[in-house]
């Protein structure tokens, strides 16, 4: 947009843009606040200012508090931000490219395949005990998730690449992966079934620094490509036929976006499990506050996703003193009512 705005319409729009930028800034502040709260919440009783000082100067903390802050709370809190951001971004792009406000990154079946990969890793685990849970399980989940993305892309090329076909294939993939996972659970031991269920709920507490860096790197690689397409993605919101008629190659765009969504969703879930609702609700809230211009919607969805998961992480530790509830349960608990309220509020816009 031009900096030297002159016409009344430009001036009016510049005001709208300023308001949106202020909202983005407010979201960023809320996200940082939530991150700080997340770091300061937990069973160990460490003072807030002590923690702040420990962040700047780790040696100022006692050894046990230093370990709690730097090896437990900080990576957990940061991975909540990076996973939430990845799911928020993937959700916004999914909803636009499938022209479906009820779609989420999980609609494509990538997460269901990740769950299948993880379940397989859990069930076959005893035969390769030398490899840690932190390597085999995420690798299997990641590979299966990426396989899901590859299958959808291959299917898109085999058909006319319409969004209806993509959604239908995604649903088929979800049913297939769920059936296979159920089959594995049927033959698995009780302990393995419990572990599978625990993984599919979604949980941040197993993540460490390497996991955080991997998810963040995946996000940072994909994000610039999403930003490159913001104008075209905005144009798609006029309706696919109008975007095509304006000269946009929507099918090629869709292929790129599906690739981005698959990578984001695969890396987001492989370490922490299939945390629900973030990729669905995050972009919805961003859209409600910022509108459809993807120059604002994309960063807004990233911030909303990160803020939601970070808040859920805080609540997962604060709801029951001394107990950490798996974050996937909390996201569903707050996600469902928020989602229903949004649907009722937005019924005229969907």
């Amino acid at each position: 947009m031009p900096n030297n705005v002159t016409s009344p319409l430009s001036i009016e729009y510049a005001q709208i843009k300023r308001k949106r930028l202020a909202l983005l800034l407010a979201m960023l502040v809320a996200m940082i606040t939530s991150l700080m709260l997340d770091i300061s919440t937990g069973p160990a009783n460490i003072g807030f200012f002590e923690l702040l000082q420990g962040l700047v100067d780790p040696d100022s903390l006692e050894m046990r508090y230093r370990i709690i802050l730097w090896d437990v709370r900080l990576p957990d809190a940061l991975i909540a931000i990076s996973v939430g951001a990845a799911l928020g971004l993937a959700g916004a792009e999914t909803q636009t490219v499938l022209n479906n406000p009820l779609a989420s990154p999980y609609t494509l079946g990538v997460s269901a395949l990740a769950a299948l990969g993880a379940s397989l890793a859990i069930v076959i685990h005893p035969s390769i005990p030398e490899l840690s849970d932190r390597v085999v399980l995420p690798m299997m989940a990641l590979m299966f998730a990426l396989l899901g993305g590859f299958l959808i892309l291959a299917f898109t090329r085999m058909t006319d690449g319409s969004r209806e076909h993509v959604i239908l294939f995604g649903i088929a993939l979800v049913f297939f992966a769920n059936a296979m996972t159920a089959g594995l659970q049927y033959v698995a031991s009780a302990e393995a079934v419990q572990e599978i269920v625990f993984w599919t709920i979604g949980n941040l507490t197993k993540a460490g620094w390497p996991e955080f860096f991997v998810v963040t790197l995946a996000f940072l690689i994909v994000f610039p490509f999403s930003l490159r397409h913001v104008w075209a993605m905005t144009l798609i919101r006029a309706g696919e036929s109008h975007a095509v008629s304006s000269g946009l190659n929507v099918r090629r765009m869709r292929t790129w976006v599906i690739l981005r969504i698959s990578v984001l969703a695969a890396f987001a879930v492989c370490f922490v499990g299939t945390i629900g609702f973030i990729g669905l609700v995050g972009p919805h809230i961003a859209r409600l506050l910022l509108g459809e211009d993807h120059r604002f919607l994309i960063p807004g969805s990233v911030l909303c996703g990160a803020l939601l998961l970070s808040t859920a992480s805080v609540l997962s530790k604060a709801l029951l003193p001394g107990v950490i509830i798996p974050v996937g349960i909390v996201t569903a608990m707050i996600g469902v009512p928020v989602f229903l309220v949004l649907i009722i509020q937005q019924r005229h816009r969907l």
Binding site: M1, P2, N4, V5, T6, S7, P8, L9, S10, E12, Y13, I16, N99, W231, A232, T234, L235, R237, A238, G239, S241, H242, V244, S245, S246, G247, L248, N249, R287, G291, E292, D293, H348, R349
Partner: protein, 259 residues
């Protein structure tokens, strides 16, 4: 200068052929051609084929070049197609939609020029007051005008418009058609538009192409096309053109005929 030439165009959906041997005399700069015919005649399909959205057999030349050989950039520069469906409801603002269209599908040499172009287009189409209102708050007519603005904003020289005035009131139908005619002359381009309103086709189009069941029944100046025999055969109505004392020609529709 020839803007568009169509020779022996045939199109099938699978095994079902829907367009048969479509050939038209060259469209010249400034021409406004109306595609008329009953529902299912093939008007929209022909426009979509010309826009490059459907595969066809035959020859279509745009500004002397084969349409299938045009690069995507050249295609966007030469022509725009406006589909029959309205712009979908969303919280997108018309103003940012036009910007996104320019930014994603055209090269902008000057920000100020682009800004003025968008402002002037919105003003002409009566959209200035709603330019920064979400699309879901706009009436069907306004959304159709936004769709038209989206087609016009790149200033293409060949406009393919599918029922561009179907949701508009009479005032805006006339404004839009006058504007399109003026644009075709100024841009040294041409307009082909599918129309159901035969009065408007008669009053605004230089030439008409009457289609039925995927074939051209008649093509030429309105007086040659809107004959009593053609209207009875294609539309199943008893109607004819009447010359008034003031020199105007009007379509007099009497009754529907048995099919």
């Amino acid at each position: 200068m020839s803007v568009l030439a169509i020779k022996d165009l045939n199109l099938s959906f699978g095994r079902k052929q829907v367009l048969f041997d479509i050939s038209l005399p060259d469209l010249r700069s400034g021409d406004m051609v109306g595609l008329i015919g009953p529902n299912g005649a093939g008007k929209s399909t022909l426009l979509q084929a010309l826009a490059g959205h459907l595969r066809y057999e035959g020859e279509v030349r745009v500004f002397g070049s084969s349409a299938t050989q045009l690069s995507a950039a050249r295609h966007r520069e030469y022509m725009a197609f406006m589909p029959q469906s309205l712009i979908q409801k969303s919280s997108l603002l018309p103003y940012e939609l036009l910007w996104s269209a320019l930014r994603s599908t055209a090269s902008i040499s000057s920000q100020t020029d682009a800004e003025q172009r968008i402002d002037s287009l919105l003003e002409t189409l009566g959209l200035s007051a709603v330019a920064n209102q979400p699309l879901y708050t706009l009436s069907g007519g306004k959304r159709q005008l936004v769709g038209l603005a989206l087609s016009l904003v790149r200033q293409p020289r060949l406009l393919l418009l599918d029922e561009p005035t179907s949701a508009l009131d009479l005032h805006w139908r006339l404004i839009v058609l006058d504007y399109l005619k003026q644009e075709a002359r100024q841009q040294r381009g041409a307009v082909i538009l599918a129309l159901h309103d035969l009065d408007l086709a008669l009053s605004h189009c230089d030439r008409l192409v009457l289609m039925n069941q995927g074939r051209i029944v008649a093509a030429g100046v309105p007086r040659e096309v809107l004959t009593q025999a053609h209207l009875a055969r294609v539309y199943h109505v008893d109607a004819n053109l009447v010359d008034t004392h003031s020199g105007d020609t009007l379509l007099h529709i009497k009754k529907a005929l048995d099919t």
